[in-house]
Amino acid sequence: MSTTDRPVATRPSAVVPEIEVDPGAFRHLADAQMNVELDTGDMVLNLGPQHPATHGTLRLVVRLDGERVLAADPVIGYMHRGYEKLTEYRPYPQIITLINRIDWLSSFANEVPFVHAAERLMGIEAPPRAVYIRTILTELSRIATFILFLGEMGLQVGAMTPAFFGFRDREHVLNVIEGATGGRFHPNFNRVGGLKDDLPWGWIAECRRTMDIVFKSCDDFEDLLMGNEIFEARTRSIGIIPADVGTSYGVSGSNIRASGVDWDLRRDGDAYLAYRDVDFKVWTHPDGDSYARYWVRLQETRESARMVLQLLDAIPAGPIMAKVPRVIKVPEGECWVETENPLGQMGYYLVSKGSTGPFRTKIRSASFSNVSILPWLLQGVYIPDIITILASLYFILGDIDR
């Protein structure tokens, strides 16, 4: 594509740096920002921060040759809220409500590793009933996240209807979560040592009904989108992440399992929640492309629904709160707790100095690492593939920016 005669959308007053074009040299676009003259035939396209495919405020500066991407530079931080700093100024109960908002689609799952870290340092354990309810709610939030993904992915590759199906079916899951926790998006239901409340009457039956909807929804997505030849053409062999590259970038969760790495912290990590009592299968796919990521998430949605059904049958009776001090003080020490969140490995490195709040909390969020592979992954793809890849990596901006 020739854009030689007319600079497009560059301001005449802008200072124009001279940039030599060498596709290899643009691995990192240190200074290739917006105002680059187009005299070389390349075009710098700015996707975002306001762009429908960036789920919020991710910005991608891509250098294009025609529609082919020579180099891409993700610019993040438009939603940086500084949670690591904020946690240092708040006591533990307040932090739980904050970290809800890291990955807002699966808020409950965010809370779990944090309370685990505090509980481990304090040497207490939540009672079994609380553990089971936590597990169920974690899986429910996984289902909610993935169902939205299954539809959202369709929207990004151009099919509008699946997105509405995603929102429609997720609503049922959110209703169940809200019924138990009182919050649709931000449950704030975990407490150090247990849970805020027990389940309301009739909730288990309601949850079972919802799982039927989830299964049906998965079938719908399979018929409507995953089986569709156009969808396959758009996603097969697009954005292939080789297993070793993925792990060295810290790509985790369904993304890395779609690259054939059989690694699921629910099964392989330190025993947490009630996953040891559940019979479940870890799905992997050997291809590592966008289609594989969609496929894995679809299977994991079904698997999670099966896990919820198993857990619902086995909820033990008993208290939901361990005996904890009125003012929670975590003894001095350090603790790393990681969990398999919907988006991947979520971990908190909690450093306590014996106060009512943490001294330092390193929040290891999944999307941050998942997205950091983008400059590598986007080289040489077409513009539509950028969108496919972004959608299939499935990130939440809050989870990148924290």
């Binding site: 959308a9 199906f165 429609r168 539509p384």
Partner: protein, 343 residues
């Protein structure tokens, strides 16, 4: 049309009536399609209701309201835009839509201009809109718009050929390029000697019809070929900088063209205005209604696909056009020709 309702009127009046009809038909058609399919059918396919309040009955007034809203909006033009081209582009797009309607017959005598090369003319003017799209994309001084316009140009050119070739089968079978002639040929035809229904060419030209629909889908830049507007990639492509009534023009152009293509397809393979057993003056009266029903059926197909499928990639679209559609269309012509000659 000069003998409409058996009243003789002068050519000036005829021209005026024709102009008003054509000018009124496009926005009306766009409204009907937009409301029926975009607002209602899509909503229900997505488990929604769509607008329910405006106008009382199922929100029928919604699009009219939207149109009025667009008229009130500020006419924003980008600072770097090529102002004249920018302003002209939507008009070019809409004009090409208007021109298609000139030849579409809605009754034995109800046609604005009964051209002998009607099919040829309709397809030729329909591709004029590419110029408007290119003008819009180029003049917007926006990279997304430019990408969208270039995609549109590449795509529309690539799909002119299958579109045309798909129609050739019908033309060969009917032996005329006159649209009214094609309708009459279908009406007077017979299926294996049974002429109760005439012979809608959808039976013999099914491949041609399918090809026509696919190519029309691409011409209309509708999913799965909506890369030029690709909302999730190019955020609307060539129309990204348009607001207010200029955007309304694009909207009317989009749905008006869909209306026109549906009418064209209905005329070519579904028998157009013809209803079995209805001839003469009655056909003139019933014709528009019959054609409308048929074109709505075709439009349903077009929009059903649009609301179900994901989008292809630009290179896949080109590959599809050149590798599959054109060879199939040529084969179709060949087979049709052989049958025409030997039977």
């Amino acid at each position: 049309m000069t003998h409409l309702l058996a009243v003789d009127i002068g050519w000036g009046w005829t021209l005026a009536i024709k102009t008003v009809v054509v000018l009124g038909l496009i926005p009306l058609g766009a409204l009907i399609l937009g409301y029926t399919f975009l607002l209602k059918m899509m909503s229900h396919m997505q488990s929604r209701l769509g607008p329910m309040d405006p106008g009382g009955f199922h929100g029928w007034f919604q699009l009219v309201g939207d149109g009025m809203k667009f008229l009130q909006k500020e006419d924003i033009m980008p600072e770097q835009a090529d102002r004249r081209v920018f302003a002209l582009a939507p008009a070019v797009v809409v004009i090409s839509t208007f021109l298609i309607f000139v030849v579409i017959p809605t009754g034995p005598r109800l046609v604005v201009k009964d051209l002998d090369v009607g099919v040829f003319y309709a397809l030729a003017v329909s591709s004029l809109s590419i110029i408007g799209v290119l003008m819009a994309g180029w003049a917007s001084a926006n990279k997304f718009a430019l990408l969208g316009a270039l995609r549109a140009a590449a795509q529309l050119i690539a799909y002119e050929l299958p579109l045309l070739l798909a129609v050739v089968g019908v033309v060969v079978q009917a032996g005329t390029m006159n649209l009214n002639g094609i309708v009459t040929a279908q009406q007077n035809g017979a299926i294996f000697g049974w002429d109760g229904l005439g012979n809608p060419y959808i039976l013999t030209q099914f491949v041609g019809f399918a090809l026509f629909l696919v190519a029309a889908q691409a011409e209309l830049t509708q999913t799965p070929f909506d890369m030029p507007v690709a909302e999730s990639e190019l955020v609307s492509g060539y129309m990204v900088e348009y607001t207010g009534f200029r955007f309304l023009f694009f909207f009317i152009g989009e749905f008006g063209t869909a209306f026109a293509f549906a009418a064209l397809a209905a005329t070519l393979v579904l028998g157009g205005w013809a209803l079995p057993g209805v001839h003469g003056g009655t056909a003139d009266l019933l014709g528009p209604l019959v054609l409308f029903v048929k074109l709505m059926a075709v439009a349903f197909l077009i929009f059903w696909v649009r609301f179900t499928y994901p989008r292809l990639r630009e290179d896949q679209l080109q590959a599809m056009a050149w590798k599959y559609l054109i060879p199939i269309a040529l084969a179709n012509i060949l087979v049709t020709g052989l049958f025409k000659v030997w039977l």
